[in-house]
């Protein structure tokens, strides 16, 4: 037994009080007794008890009245009522008034043990829930959401407020601001966290593929459907589904999605069996859904169904004070993953980063730092390691692969495609450089 459970026995019969007192003391509980309801209520004002075992029939205030008062005073108390004269009416009334159980005296020793064990289990569950609630207040798994600026604090507060509910959430913000991280943080801090978070990038799929992705398909539903396949809604049962780039889905898909959100039921493509799934939906978009609704490009009913809570993730230029923290975080992250000693950043380079517009937001900053670690001299990130002047790169290139491809191509051209010299400049061996050339399909004439 962890915490010592306390029991208050309320009965006007001394022999009953003594019997129960001795029984529970031998079981290791903290036990107090009261001879009537008024005494019990005054004890409850100065002390708290986990379980109150009370007789119904007592002179003065009866057990049912006492039960009602206890529930007003301390609603979390577990009250078990006892009577020697059981009637269905009193039992129903006691349970309606919040009694945990109702027992007829005398009871079997085994029944008494079961009763108290059940009540104790309930207490430990409540304690566990309380612990969980406290834990959630200090958000978990938000390490990637870096920032101490006011806009970021607001985002974290929003996550905290919304995580425990099951409401649909729309996360808005420019590309690269970290909308998916916000979705992950909501899921990780919700009661669904032990179940999957299933992500779907709606913009990357054609309508028919998206339909099959979301709803699944039966074998033979279309050419190439060789096996039954579970859809993302099915996979997200008890968990969360994250629909990224929700603004890109077709009008037909909007209708299908609305139906699923309303009923939480659907059929697989090519199937006729209705499937139920209990999922929470979180969407993200960099578009203004409201103006899309006004232009009839997005269904109004679906918008209101999805947009129960809106979380706006600010662009990086609106939280410049977070840039040093982000830079530090990404340097540590990539030095660790590349097995390099931790680097620092030159103050002039950091200053320029703080002045930069970052159209690609945090993702762009992350890519810049990763690239600087790859191409830098291995000691300090300098201004020359950052492609801040080449704004054209930052606006057209988003992925690290594109950056790497572009950089390798420039170096190869610089050294007239002399592989040894280019490899030396890139600080990689010749085999690695050949592999990269092959991977990106680079050619001298390009």
């Amino acid at each position: 037994m962890g915490k010592k459970i306390s029991i208050l026995i309320v009965d006007d019969e001394e022999s009953v009080r003594d019997s129960l007192y001795n029984w529970f003391i031998e079981d290791g509980y903290r036990v107090e007794v009261a001879e009537n309801a008024n005494r019990a209520l005054s004890m409850l004002e100065s002390d708290s008890f986990d379980i109150i075992l009370a007789d119904i029939k007592m002179p003065g205030m009866d057990g049912l009245e006492m039960l009602r008062r206890i529930k007003i005073l301390k609603s979390e108390s577990i009250v078990i009522v006892m009577t020697a004269f059981a009637t269905v009416d009193t039992a129903v009334q006691a349970l309606k008034d919040g009694a945990f159980d109702y027992v007829t005296k005398p009871f079997d020793p085994d029944d008494l043990s079961h009763l108290i064990r059940n009540a104790s289990k309930q207490i430990s569950l409540s304690d566990e829930n309380e612990t969980l609630r406290t834990k959630v207040l200090t958000l978990e798994n938000v390490e990637d959401l870096i920032g101490k600026s006011e806009p970021m604090k607001r985002v974290l507060r929003d996550i905290e407020n919304v995580a425990q509910s099951s409401s649909s959430v729309v996360i808005t913000g420019e590309s690269g601001t970290g909308k998916e991280l916000v979705a992950r943080a909501i899921h990780s801090n919700s009661s669904r966290k032990f179940f999957p978070l299933v992500s779907v990038h709606c913009g990357a799929l054609t309508e028919s593929l998206l339909e099959s992705e979301l709803f699944g398909h039966e074998k033979g539903a279309f050419t190439g459907a060789m096996y039954n396949r579970k859809g993302r809604f099915e996979m997200a049962d008890n968990g969360t589904i994250f629909l990224d780039e929700i603004a890109t889905i077709s009008m037909k898909m909007q209708i299908d999605l609305l139906r699923v959100l309303e009923t939480k039921k659907f059929t697989r493509v090519g199937g006729n069996k209705e499937i139920s799934s209990d999922f929470r939906v979180i969407c993200a978009t960099n578009r203004d859904l409201k103006s899309m609704v006004e232009k009839a490009a997005f269904r109004e009913d679906l918008f209101y169904r999805l947009n129960v809570v809106n979380i706006f993730v600010p662009p990086l230029r609106e939280r410049i004070e977070d840039i040093p923290l982000l830079v530090d975080y990404f340097i540590k992250k990539y030095c660790l993953s590349m097995n390099k000693p931790p680097l620092t950043i030159d103050s002039s380079a950091l200053k320029r980063l703080e002045e930069f517009n970052f159209p690609g937001n945090v993702r762009e900053l992350e890519n810049m730092i990763e690239r600087a670690i790859v191409v830098g001299n291995g000691k300090k990130i300098a201004l020359k390691d950052l492609p801040l002047e080449k704004t054209i790169i930052s606006s057209t290139i988003e992925s690290l692969d594109d950056l790497e491809k572009s950089h390798i191509f420039q170096i190869l051209n610089k050294y007239s495609w002399n592989i040894s010299r280019a490899a030396k400049a890139l600080k990689v061996d010749r085999v690695t450089l050949y592999n990269k050339i092959s991977k990106y399909g680079l050619k001298p004439k390009e």
Partner: protein, 180 residues
């Protein structure tokens, strides 16, 4: 005051040699000399005609007042159906960290539950019940270790699941209580 011995006082009829077997196991388990005595109480005074059982609370008080002493742990042994007001029956009870307890053989026989009589099993059950009540008088509360004799037993098959011995935790607690 130092505990000198354990006294078993029989109130009623027990087969010849039965209590000696019980005493032997108690001595082996608790390492105190065990004295067997015969007691005389008019138990009809403790009979509740409404329940057709004997009031365990009153009997315990009587044993404590008439037979217990500070240098002994005394257990009154009965062969009648015991109850306490809130429960339909009890196998026995004791004052926690007190001088005395009671135990009854009445509900320990298989034949009471429609099964073949088993004298050996009855002796084993009774030994466990008496040691259990003695444990309470020595300050032990119910133990959660399945085979410890201090585990609570609310029906007869429960008693068969535990041994007549104390677990190491309960034993060390008794030793601590003994020294304090």
């Amino acid at each position: 005051m130092d505990l000198k011995n354990i006294t078993l006082i029989s109130f009623g009829y027990f087969e010849e040699g039965f209590l000696e077997k019980v005493a032997g196991t108690i001595n082996h388990e608790l390492l105190y000399p065990v004295i067997i005595k015969e007691g005389h109480i008019d138990i009809t005074e403790f009979y509740d005609p409404g329940r057709r059982q004997y009031n365990g609370n009153k009997l315990l008080k009587e044993v404590d007042e008439l037979y217990a002493s500070d240098s002994n742990k005394t257990i009154g042994l009965f062969n009648v159906d015991l109850f306490i007001p809130i429960l339909t029956y009890i196998f026995g009870q004791a004052f926690l960290s007190g001088r005395s307890g009671i135990a009854s053989l009445y509900r320990l026989g298989n034949e009471r539950y429609g099964m073949d009589s088993d004298e050996r099993l009855v002796v084993e059950r009774f030994k466990k019940e008496v040691i259990h009540e003695l444990g309470h008088t020595m300050g032990l509360i119910h133990c959660h270790i399945p085979n410890c004799v201090m585990r609570s037993s609310t029906y007869v098959e429960d008693i068969d699941l535990k041994t007549a011995s104390l677990c190491s935790k309960c034993r060390s607690e008794i030793n601590t209580n003994r020294l304090s």
